[in-house]
Symmetry: C2
Subunit: 195 residues, 2 copies
């Protein structure tokens, strides 16, 4: 499910295209830390990355699409979900960390950037890559549970609908952000054991 390339053309690691991408992504991240997101412009990113603005426009489209690409890369998980010895424990540990990361200012900004991008990446709308990163993490948790021989496992889709969807929906729309007590209620209500 998860594709490991990034950018419109899927650069070969170490190639010129991959080096340009790494430099541009690094420039965006540095400038966001230094000056904040609102101040960013394509010429500013290009100057920091040592490329021409037209390189950026050609490859990413506009600033919103570049920010969406950078945000998706930052949402790519950099480790496997912790193994606690049971499905219930794994889901709790993973979902608490997910809620924590997505609720942070950085996490919220990433979600908004991803949704603001209108481009395609690897033939899909940008937000689908977030969906697939998350589904892949849940898949790892379920595969471990299968190996342990745990009975009555839920599907990836049931967990995306039961845990991930309400976390993100509430972060985007609800008057009060989702908190740990709310998450534990959801897990306790048996989301993990259905289907």
């Amino acid at each position: 499910m998860v594709t490991l390339t990034s950018g419109k053309s899927g650069p070969r690691p170490g190639g010129r295209s991959a080096r340009v991408q790494a430099a541009v992504h690094a420039a965006v991240n540095e400038l966001q830390r230094e000056s904040g997101r609102a101040a960013l412009t394509v010429p500013m990113v290009a100057a920091r990355a040592g490329v021409t603005p037209s390189t950026i426009y050609r490859r990413w489209g506009d600033l919103a699409d570049l920010l969406a690409d950078v945000a998706v890369e930052r949402m790519r998980p950099d480790m496997e979900p912790p193994d606690t010895g049971s499905l219930a424990g794994d889901l709790q540990a993973w979902s608490e960390q997910y809620l924590d990361e997505m609720s942070s200012d950085v996490g919220r900004a990433m979600v908004r950037d991803v949704l603001a991008g209108t481009g395609q990446m690897d033939g899909q709308p940008v937000p689908c890559r977030c969906f697939e990163f998350t589904a892949a993490q849940i898949d790892v948790i379920l595969a471990r549970a299968r190996q342990r021989g745990e009975p009555g496992l839920p599907t990836v889709d049931a967990l995306m609908d039961g845990i991930v969807a309400p976390v993100i929906y509430r972060l985007l729309f609800a008057p009060a952000p989702p908190d740990l007590a709310w998450l534990r209620d959801r897990l306790h209500d048996g989301v993990a054991g259905r289907r």
Copy 2:
């Protein structure tokens, strides 16, 4: 929960402020139909509505905030959910209509416009008003079920998490849009009966 005013200042119905709002909203809706959303500008909307651009900037901020305000108003339900005689029937009828409306091109554009607004309305971020419109509809359905004496009713929050959240999350992020078969599986899995 649901506030019945709109715009930053909550205009008195029939007052000058309410007339300006109605004219500007109508202009946005007409121009969107005629020229498409991408072509809209604040001066164009102002000319059609018969107000000055500075009236719009002062009241709504920028174009994204104006489009968010118009989108929220279009998401305000204009009727009560149909009464089918049971909670299960009411939830199925209402959620099928909700999925249908939100999945349409117009519905998707409304959700994106609402999320792109950065302003506050009536002291809340704009997307919260969508949350509250939807929660109010579900509240009507639950109140009817209580009056009928149906046992073991879910909470509004459980239904927001179990039905509304996955519909919107999948529309925004999933590689395949949610369809009627998926929705019926969710309802059938007992979302409606859990607290």
